[in-house]
């Protein structure tokens, strides 16, 4: 704190000798609990607020309490930011801040760095009491040099000790200050953001953190020759910046959904945390159920009584909700289900990204269970697709499943501020008397659509049932009625599908290779495809938003390319394996669907490393495919 009235001294961030960068990828990695993520999130938010394009991903430790100074303990964050729009986490990092010499190895194993990556490392381990630690440190520094990293040894703890007796808590703010100078961040915005993240803490705590922030900034100014500028184009557009789970929470509220019924599960839970903070103020409420079955049952109960509800979960929760999803299909109850996918099967990789629930949500229910499934591909779509999902659910009287994933959940990105509209909100519950003679399932033979009576509507009394039933909701096992009602429920998908347009092709409408993606991989795929196109390669991509029903015109698009290949984050057999033949090969989930849907020999490139896809990896694969064509 430079002066007495609480504002921070802000030297002009635009120092003339700053090196201008188009974009940079920064990682901060510490032991679990040292706050690297907090520092990185704040850095990302400040950068977005300054007008940079930003994408952040969290690096999450393997255990809750891993021993410190181990690879398992690595906790941190990657921030990719630049002058233009950033749509994915990118390739190798340009800069790494490490709180000890061990944790970077987790990321080295994942090929997160390259020759020339700048490493800013806490130097206190070099003078540690323990000989073992001192040796470990100097070995690592030597290894970093050998790998071609550019190493800066930084007295983080020493500097923090000047301000706090316990530098383990607060070093992250000092680092944030240091990075703020390196990248010329706006310190007023940084201070405001620090105040915001500690908003529930005392003024003393906030002030202490602000002091560390400023100290880090000053230290970098006086001691480091690293000085960059990442210009942001002036934009008139009003933006908001948030992660995908927060965007879902906003979408839920902007859709006027009054009830979110959930059971905690990573990586979906932070949506519920956000809702818990604000949904009551917007007229809704959150119910933490005793398990996922009860959570979806509760939501269906509320939907049945006129308040279309949402239940949010991840893979294991989807498994538990299966029976109720079948009921919602059979009894035609509108419902919004959000699945923030993680690695599976079983408990799998709780914090890591995968797109492995597609077939489970589509076909996981016994019997034929047609429903709408859609997948947002950006943070902004996480917001808008909830609003869309509620509308579809109510108009088509069926569950709608939204597939997000761990990558979108924690990825932070700015997008145009939504201009909220009354028509997005759920209408008031209809309590007018039910039309005389109308049936509770008065299906339109052409579309399968029908209106439902809601409790409170006099004359509409009926008993909803999951058993086969007639128009009058009467239980019946008559063969013709069962066949006919199955067809009517299926017809609704065809009816809805007619409102969809063919997807836009990114690049030329014809060529050698077409990449097909869905969900959170869009940014990485389109970046790779654009880079390939710049090299003159005849490659394009399409990104699907609707998995059920599929968008129309796919076969026509596919036919204009020599080869079609999906890129997905889920498992598929590799043809390089001697046991695997084109006949016994198990395909990636979207590829499997598209093959059946279009009868085109769709190939796939997919894996389950639990990592977001890198554009560089996709580009290399594109090149390989074209070489073999």
């Amino acid at each position: 704190m430079k002066d007495g009235n609480g504002s921070l001294a802000t030297p002009s961030p635009k120092i003339s000798n700053r090196l201008t960068l188009k974009e940079h990828i920064l990682e901060i990695v510490s032991d679990s609990g040292e706050g690297a993520q907090k520092a990185g999130q704040t850095f990302g938010a400040v950068s977005a607020k300054m007008g940079n394009g930003v994408w952040t991903v969290e690096i999450i430790p393997a255990d809750i309490q891993p021993p410190p100074r181990t690879k398992e303990s690595a906790s941190g964050i990657r921030i990719r930011f630049g002058s233009g729009k950033i749509t994915n986490a990118g390739d190798e990092a340009d800069m790494l801040v490490a709180f000890n010499e061990i944790v970077p190895y987790t990321r080295i194993d994942q090929n997160a760095y390259r020759e020339g990556t700048i490493v800013l490392i806490e130097n206190k381990w070099g003078t540690d009491e323990s000989k073992e630690i001192r040796e470990s440190y100097s070995r690592a520094i030597q290894d970093f040099h050998d790998r071609g990293f550019v190493v800066y040894e930084i007295p983080m703890e020493e500097e923090c000790l000047k301000l706090t007796p316990n530098p383990k808590r607060g070093k992250n703010m000092w680092v944030l200050g240091m990075l703020s100078h390196i990248y010329g961040r706006d310190m007023e915005k940084a201070a405001a953001q620090v105040g915001y993240i500690f908003r529930s803490k005392s003024k003393a705590v906030i002030d202490a953190n602000l002091q560390l922030l400023q100290a880090g900034y000053d230290w970098a100014r006086d001691n480091l020759d690293l000085c960059y500028e990442v210009p942001s184009p002036a934009s008139e557009e009003e933006l908001v910046v948030m992660n995908g789970n927060e965007a879902l929470s906003f979408g839920i509220q902007a859709a006027g959904i009054e009830l979110c019924s959930m059971y905690p599960i990573t990586p979906a839970t932070s949506t519920s945390h956000h809702l818990a903070e604000c949904i009551q103020a917007s007229g809704g409420i959150i119910h933490q159920a005793e398990d996922e079955i009860a959570a979806v049952g509760f939501a269906i109960g509320a939907s049945y009584s006129g308040k279309t509800s949402v239940t949010i979960t991840s893979g294991p929760g989807i498994a538990l909700k299966t029976e109720f999803l079948g009921l919602a299909v059979m009894a035609e109850v509108p419902l919004v289900v959000i699945d923030v996918q993680r690695g599976g099967p079983s408990t799998g990789l709780p914090t890591k990204v995968e797109q492995s629930d597609l077939l489970a949500v589509l076909y996981g229910q016994p019997g034929d269970a047609p429903k709408v499934v859609l997948a947002p591909s950006t943070i902004e779509e996480c917001f808008h697709f909830v609003i869309l999902a509620r509308k579809i659910a109510e108009s088509f009287r069926m569950p709608v499943i939204l597939l997000s994933d761990a990558n979108l959940a924690t990825g932070v990105q700015p997008f145009p501020r939504p201009q909220l509209r009354e028509e997005w909100l759920a209408p008031p519950v209809d309590q007018s008397p039910w039309k005389e003679g109308a049936k509770p399932y008065g299906w339109d033979e052409k579309t399968g659509l029908s209106h439902r009576p809601i409790p409170g509507q006099a004359g509409g009394e009926y008993t909803l049932t999951g058993l086969a039933h007639s128009e009058a909701a009467k239980v019946t096992y008559l063969p013709e009625i069962n066949q006919k009602t199955a067809a009517l429920r299926s017809l609704k998908l065809a009816t809805f599908g007619r409102t969809l347009k063919p997807p836009q092709v990114h690049g030329d409408e014809e060529g050698d290779l077409l990449i097909v993606g869905w969900g959170s991989t869009r940014g990485a795929i389109e970046e790779a495809v654009s880079r390939a196109q710049e090299k003159g390669l005849k490659v394009s991509s399409v990104h699907l938003r609707f998995m059920s029903p599929l968008e129309p015109g796919l076969k026509d698009i596919f036919k204009r390319f020599k080869k079609v290949m999906t890129v997905e984050i889920n498992y598929s057999d590799s043809l390089d394996d001697p046991m695997i033949t084109p006949e016994n090969r198990r395909y990636a989930q979207m590829a499997w669907m598209l093959r059946a849907h279009t009868l085109v020999d769709v190939d796939c490139f997919s894996n389950v490393y639990g990592q977001p896809l890198r554009p560089g990896k996709i580009l290399a694969r594109i090149q390989k495919e074209l070489d073999n064509l």
């Binding site: 049952g297 509760f298 109960g301 909100l425 409170g456």
Partner: protein
């Protein structure tokens, strides 16, 4: 009442409902099945209380007993095996204007639905629950139920069941925030009706265990239960259930029990010799989750948009 907002109010001409206004179709239970008696009692309650059919919802699971909503001319939800409670709680949470009943069986409630059941007790929403305890799985043709007595011969235990039964009264009484626990029997109509009425009037989650006759599969047990009047004792107290004179005359054993005394209630629930009919426990002050659920109903679109916008401001660049 709390929280009833504009969107739930609809003007209807005042009408007097008769029994037939609540009746629908012909119940397809076996002749001599206890379920018929409960259906009549509930229809009588609806008429006495003049419950508007459109404001009344019967939620059930799966089983013979869970067919119940189909025979009521009200709204109904015949859902999944064991899952009536979450659905009913979801109905009630944002619709305090609806009268919600749960109809469940011993397998539906105490086996597959046990998790949801004990949590429903704890939520203590204003819901009337009637558990049809025939000590057997009727619908699926005579398998052992969690409430089957030790040694019960069934199709899954042809030489007799091997575990002691669950005690639903004791389980309920052991759950925190429990607010109403009663027992009655389907063949004692006056007591059955009085119990259902007391449960309906209770402000909170009322749990009634009805000892049921499954004439089809449990003949000898039915015979024993309905003839041995010494095995039944009627609970009496000024704050308890007030059965009709007929019941009190037919059943000679009476026991004075103060329904605010949970320890005494637990002792009665443990009695292996005698089945007590009446109110075991009641606490009208127990915390109500449905009041919490309905506390912020009725926001206008403008209110909602303003609140979301205020929140979005914090994320503005």
């Amino acid at each position: 009442m709390f929280g009833i907002k504009q969107d739930f109010i609809c003007e209807l001409p005042k009408k007097y409902y008769t029994l037939s206004d609540y009746e629908k179709g012909v119940a397809r239970w076996c002749p001599g099945c206890g379920d018929h008696a409960v259906l009549s009692s509930v229809q009588r309650l609806c008429r006495e209380e003049q419950l508007p059919p459109e404001k009344t919802v019967f939620v059930s699971g799966i089983g013979c007993s869970s067919r119940f909503p189909h025979y009521m001319n009200t709204y109904g939800f015949h859902g999944l095996h064991g899952r009536a409670f979450p659905v009913a709680c979801g109905v009630k949470f944002r619709r305090p204007d609806l009268n919600v009943f749960v109809i469940t069986g011993d397998g539906d409630c105490c086996s597959i639905g046990a998790g949801a059941w004990i949590h429903a007790i704890r939520y203590n929403m204003d819901i009337t629950t009637i558990m049809f305890d025939n000590q057997i799985y009727g619908m699926t043709k005579k398998q052992t139920s969690p409430t089957s007595r030790l040694g019960t011969i069934s199709n899954t235990h042809p030489t007799g069941s091997v575990l002691p039964p669950v005690n639903p009264l004791q389980t309920s009484l052991g759950m925190s925030n429990v607010s109403f626990v009663a027992q009655t029997a389907d063949w004692v109509p006056g007591h059955l009706f009085a119990t259902i009425k007391a449960a309906y009037e209770h402000p909170g989650f009322a749990f009634i265990k009805v000892i049921m006759r499954c004439s089809k599969f449990m003949g000898p047990l039915v015979e024993e239960m309905t003839t041995n009047r010494d095995a039944i004792s009627i609970l009496t107290h000024e704050n308890g259930i007030q059965p009709d004179e007929g019941t009190l005359k037919a059943y000679k054993h009476h026991h004075v029990h103060d329904p605010s005394d949970i320890n005494a209630a637990r002792e009665l629930a443990e009695d292996k010799e005698v089945s007590y009919l009446g109110l075991f426990y009641q606490n009208k002050e127990a915390l109500r989750y449905d009041i919490y659920g309905a506390h912020n109903l009725g926001f206008t679109p403008e209110d909602k948009i303003a609140a979301v916008n205020a929140q979005l401001d914090k994320y503005a660049v």
